[in-house]
């Protein structure tokens, strides 16, 4: 009997050891959730001082009705439409609504809102874990932790809390970047496919992947052919997600590019233009709509220059080139949008910025950046709760 008990306890200890190996990851996951709750809670108390009648339901309401959230919920419940008022919702990529639908129907008794929020919260935690792992490959633990904090207190972080694609896209992107660094090409292919089913920017992951592969092969000199294998072909899975989306367009609306037609129409007015035109327009809008300038236009202009400066600094500090290339391509792609109003939100997906942050040697500079980011995060979260145009 005693022997059986000992064996049982030993087995339990082994299990505990396994869990201990993931202790840090669990902590980061919990940190992500706790920070979400804290930031939203503090922002809500500030909001409540202004509006004493406000209840906690406001947070839920903002998370499920702000921005594109109702569109994702509609898609999860009703699916894409071939005609009618909602046919333009084909501009949204399918992965997130499909995940909401599956989770809501299988586990949450058709509570679509809760499913959307749960997916976002869990994926943000996963994103933070992979960011930590990615940074730990090149930097010290303290620096990596600081960057994770910066990521979790990015001024527009509230979009990872509600029914938005930010959380899942970040999780897929950061995980893909991590496996790109580890040269695990099968996982990169699968994650890239999922990312390109989540958002158009997902397809850009193929660039750092190919860059990393080519540099790796170039480093092998004349023996490079020996290092080619079948698993590397999996990288070409990455754009497949986008082709699936085109197919979906065709099946639903008989035109592979019908999403472009809808994007160029109201309320999105999207077009593709070189960034000089777009930023000139942003400045004009900032001058015309002074208040919106502080939420949208000035933020976008500043972030663009900060990003380019950061990438140049990253080159100087010898940050991994594949990551900087991804950052450059991602930034360029975002700023080609002719009617950009969510630039600041999109730049949360520019993960190389957080990597470059870790490369800053001066501790005081890092602390100042982190503090300013946290302060802005709180400010914008309060404004988000107020229903201001935080997009």
């Amino acid at each position: 009997m005693l022997l059986v008990q000992c064996v049982y306890i030993m087995g339990w200890c082994d299990e505990m050891k396994k869990w201990k190996a993931y202790q840090k990851e669990m902590m980061i996951f919990c940190l992500s959730i706790v920070l979400h709750v804290l930031i939203m809670g503090i922002a809500f108390s500030a909001y409540k001082a202004q509006n004493p009648d406000a209840g906690f339901s406001l947070i839920w309401e903002r998370m499920t009705t702000a921005g594109d959230a109702p569109h994702y919920l509609f898609l999860a419940q009703e699916g894409y439409q071939s005609f009618g008022e909602k046919e333009n919702l084909i501009v949204f990529y399918p992965l997130y609504p499909v995940m909401i639908r599956i989770l809501a129907k299988c586990l949450l008794f058709h509570n679509f809102e809760l499913a959307g929020i749960l997916i976002s919260q869990i994926s943000t935690g996963v994103a933070a874990i992979f960011l930590y792992r990615l940074l730990k490959l090149d930097y010290k633990e303290e620096l990596s932790a600081e960057a994770v904090f910066l990521f979790l207190t990015y001024p527009f972080m509230m979009f990872t809390m509600g029914v938005f694609t930010e959380g899942i896209f970040l999780a897929l992107t950061i995980a893909a970047l991590y496996f790109i660094r580890k040269h695990e090409w099968v996982k990169v292919g699968v994650l890239g496919l999922a990312a390109s089913l989540c958002r158009m920017q997902g397809v850009l992951l193929i660039i750092p992947a190919l860059y990393e592969l080519i540099i790796m092969l170039a480093g092998k000199g004349s023996d490079w052919k020996k290092f080619l294998n079948k698993r590397q072909w999996m990288l070409f899975l990455m754009p497949v997600g986008f082709f699936v989306y085109l197919l979906l367009n065709f099946v639903k609306q008989k035109d592979c590019f019908s999403f472009m037609k809808h994007q160029s129409a109201p309320p999105w007015y999207q077009s593709i233009q070189w960034m000089n035109v777009n930023l000139t327009k942003d400045y004009g809008m900032a001058m015309e709509y002074r208040v919106l300038g502080y939420f949208i236009y000035w933020v976008q202009i500043l972030l663009f220059f900060i990003a380019v400066f950061a990438f140049l600094y990253g080159v100087h500090k010898k940050v991994r080139s594949s990551m900087i290339v991804y950052g450059g391509v991602y930034t360029c792609f975002c700023y080609l949008s002719g009617w950009l109003i969510s630039g600041a939100r999109y730049m949360l997906g520019c993960i190389p910025l957080f990597i470059i942050f870790t490369a800053i040697d001066n501790r005081l500079t890092r602390k100042i950046i982190l503090t300013v980011s946290a302060a802005l995060c709180m400010l914008y979260t309060i404004l988000f709760l107020q229903g201001q145009a935080i997009m």
């Binding site: 080519i214 000089n276 000139t280 942003d282 004009g284 220059f305 140049l312 080159v315 450059g328």
Partner: protein, 226 residues
């Protein structure tokens, strides 16, 4: 101001692309680290010189008409026949004359099409590209013949000499210079190793005379359009 911000963004992105391109060449072992660092340094200096010329152009115009702002976008961006031709191209009118003009306009047009029909900006980018290529190649020629210190000094002289501002404005000047220097270096004339010894006095005297003449011409051209 808005246009200045926009154009700065375009230049910043092109700078990033250029730096990443050089970095990639180094990582693929196509150029050595030292060579890459040298090209990067020279090209950055030339880019800086070009941007200073553009700002100066607007500034000259502004102080002449009693305006306080530093940069006058419309004057610089709309300056010269080539900018006007590109502007017409944006409105759908095609033109161009002469062999070099044609090549220049075709290049700028190609880049402009890639940049979603931003033809005037593309003309500036084309001029900058050829000017930087010209400067880097010329630097290597000087380096071979006169050594590092003299090469730097000579390159500096070239980029402040009269009419050098034209290298960075929409015109085929930079392209012609670039092609000439590449042609010269490709015919493999062995330059004799010259120990160029010019006193500081003479060098700075030349530098000041050339810069003053250059600025006088630029001012005249920007203000009087001739």
């Amino acid at each position: 101001m808005g246009n200045t911000i926009g154009e700065s963004a375009g230049f910043a992105m092109l700078l990033l692309i250029w730096i990443l391109f050089l970095n990639m060449l180094k990582e693929l072992n196509l150029i050595s680290t030292e060579r890459m660092a040298l090209i990067r340094k020279v090209s950055l200096y030339l880019l800086g010189a070009g941007l200073i010329y553009l700002v100066l152009g607007g500034f000259f115009y502004n102080i002449s008409i009693d305006q306080a702002s530093i940069f006058q976008y419309d004057v610089v961006w709309g300056y010269g026949n080539y900018a006007q031709m590109m502007g017409q191209l944006e409105s759908g009118i095609r033109n161009g004359n002469g062999f070099f003009s044609m090549i220049y306009l075709l290049t700028a047009r190609g880049i402009g099409t890639l940049l979603f029909k931003q033809y005037i900006s593309a003309a500036f980018y084309t001029s900058f590209f050829f000017a930087i290529a010209f400067g880097v190649r010329l630097y290597y020629l000087f380096l071979k013949a006169f050594g590092s210190q003299s090469a730097q000094n000579l390159l500096f002289l070239v980029f402040v000499c009269p009419f050098s501002y034209k290298l960075f404005l929409p015109s085929p000047a930079s392209m012609v210079c670039c092609l000439a220097v590449f042609a010269f270096s490709s015919i493999h004339i062995k330059l004799p190793k010259i120990n160029l010894k010019v006193s500081h006095w003479s060098y700075y005297f030349f530098l000041i005379i050339l810069t003053s003449t250059n600025i006088m011409l630029y001012y005249k051209e920007m203000l009087l359009r001739k």
